[in-house]
Amino acid sequence: MIKIEHLQKEYISGSIQVLALQGVSFTVETGQFVSIMGASGSGKSTLMNLLGLLDSPSQGSYCLDGIETSTLDEVGRARVRNQKIGFVFQAFNLLPRLSALENVELPMIYAGVKPAARREKALAALERLGLEDRFRHRPSELSGGQNQRVAIARALVNEPALILADEPTGALDTRNSEEIMEVFQELNRQGATIVLVTHEPDIARCSGRILRLSDGLLIADEAVQPPAAETRSLMPRADIREAVL
């Protein structure tokens, strides 16, 4: 599914060369739910941008769904972003002047899907996320949790090989965060491959595997123990903490 080998990325900041990723290798199998963790400056944003094909690596290879992407040109990368990757951002990144439905239709417009089919698929995706009565609303008329669900519907609608979520709960309160993480877990159970970038351990624990980055290197690759009910809810953890104190 995802096969990354010796991925490197250098930036030139002024006259100084910065090596943001110093050769990272890992593999993600189809249907896995992986979190990438790390402090700021660890290279996780750089890795995220490379995984999302928003940037190209200085060296190394990145194979996504059988496509070697490191040699693609701008048009090729745009195509892979459109067909193979569904983005979910911290700030939702919906277009404010478009309705929920039109926002979800957007990736299909770039994919060249015909209007009728587009509408049908977008409605189905919104329905899947429980937003069937909200499709005419604009982002400003929806709550944060609802907006993020619209964004997830948009990420799903082209049936991508990979859902790439960048701090998807960063702008949400606890209750909404919980809901959104449940959505991701449900999608994963239905077979979606998800890579999630976060700095919150509680969020990362919702996934099945955590990759830790530090100073541009992969320092840990650990499986999350599934403690049955507990990973599904964040609230009890706070309760436990309170009880301990």
């Binding site: 928003l54 195509r79 972003r81 459109n82 983005f87 951002f89 990144n93 919906l94 002047r97 770039y110």
Partner: protein, 390 residues
């Protein structure tokens, strides 16, 4: 992204900031309105002028003397000689004008009496209301006959039929043989009423043959210049008096008027051009603002799979649509202006499809030219940077 999507997106964004868009298109609007108005008024005026001129007959020219007219400068024999020597001359009629008092059964009125021959009717497209125009017999036999213009006939005879009646021209009796329709024209200074008599009659009245000028028409539109210039040469040769004669044609006058109209059009068009230029810069400015305002949107679109080309086209289409809206409003304003002017001046407001096409062509071109730079800037944004922007 197909055109429908592009137009929809452009309209959503333009509607999103209505006031800004409207103000931006103001320059385009004024430029296009000016172009439409100038063309419409100009074309309308030109066509009105041409229609008026045709009422006086087509292909007309007149030959006159440059300075002081002396007896014998034009003679009846000149007319015959010119007609046989210059094939481009179709009709040629001598003419003089006398101001006389004419008495009819109702009252005495002042008339402009035109002494001429039968051919004037053909040259000037004179239309008979009743009776006939003066003919060759009248001229050859110096008959005392008169052809009245309809309003003169009404004043002299009231509702009674003037045909076969007598009028008195300063003591000489004359038989009314015809009534002609008056030519309604904005070019006619109006005023004096007219009647036609055989030239020989006026010679008899004044005791001397006086021809003031020769009226003619050419066989063809393209032959007018040739016809009148050759006629002048014949006269010069016959009277051994070079530079004494001069000529003018309706077409020549028309040409001059058209030239003036062209110059006025050119001046206003350059003002319109400047307005379009300034408008275009305004559009470019606002599109740059729009690109910077919507940097994040551009990043999002790129993340969702938009190619740089898609972004470029989207912003280009938006600039063009902005200009087309300006062009449309300008066309409406320009046409309304032209319509008002046409209404006041009583001529047809001529807005051809060509003009409207021109306006929309200009709008599109302005949008394209001034939209390229901002659109290109949008397309060259780095998606990572763009997504990071607030």
């Amino acid at each position: 992204m197909n055109l429908r999507e592009l137009l929809k997106m452009a309209l959503i964004n333009i509607k999103g900031s209505k006031m800004r868009s409207l103000l931006t298109t103001l320059g385009i609007m004024i430029g296009i309105a000016a172009v439409i108005a100038v063309v419409a008024i100009g074309e309308g005026g030109r066509s009105a002028l041409n229609t008026e001129v045709e009422k006086f007959g087509t292909n007309i020219f007149v030959i006159y003397v440059r300075e002081e007219l002396r007896p014998g400068d034009f003679q009846m024999i000149d007319v015959e000689v010119i007609k046989s020597a210059v094939p481009q001359v179709k009709y040629l009629a001598p003419q003089n004008n006398l101001s006389v008092k004419v008495r009819g059964p109702r009252k005495e009125i002042n008339l402009g009496l035109t002494g001429t021959t039968s051919e004037l009717a053909d040259i000037r497209n004179i239309e008979m209301k009743s009776g006939r125009f003066i003919n060759e017999d009248d001229q050859v036999n110096s008959r005392n006959v008169i052809v009245l213009e309809e309003d003169a006939a009404r004043e002299l005879f009231g509702t009674a039929d003037p045909l076969g009646q007598q009028v008195s021209i300063e003591g000489d009796g004359a038989l009314v043989v015809g009534v002609v329709r008056k030519v309604e024209s904005k070019l006619d200074e109006g005023g004096s009423k007219t009647a036609y008599v055989p030239l020989s009659f006026t010679s008899h009245m004044r005791g001397i043959e006086m021809i003031y000028y020769l009226y003619g028409s050419a066989t063809d539109k393209t032959a007018v210049d040739e016809a009148m210039n050759s006629s002048v040469k014949v006269l010069e040769r016959r009277h051994q008096n070079p530079k004494h004669y001069s000529c003018e044609s309706m077409q020549g006058n028309l040409r001059q008027i058209n030239q003036i109209l062209d110059i006025i059009g050119l001046i206003i068009s350059s003002i319109a051009g400047i307005s379009l230029l300034v408008g275009g810069i305004g559009v470019m400015n606002i599109m740059l603002v729009s690109v910077s305002d919507r940097t994040r949107e551009i990043g999002i679109r790129m993340a969702l799979g938009a190619r740089r080309r898609d972004i470029l086209i989207q912003f280009l289409v938006e600039a063009i649509v902005l200009c087309l809206i300006g062009g449309l409003l300008g066309t409406i304003i320009g046409y309304s202006g032209a319509f008002a002017v046409a209404k006041i001046a009583d001529w047809p407001p001529l807005v051809s499809w060509k003009t409207i096409g021109l306006a929309f062509g200009f709008s599109t071109a302005v949008g394209l030219i001034f939209g390229v730079y901002p659109a290109n800037r949008a397309a060259r944004l780095d998606p990572i940077e763009a997504l990071r922007r607030d």
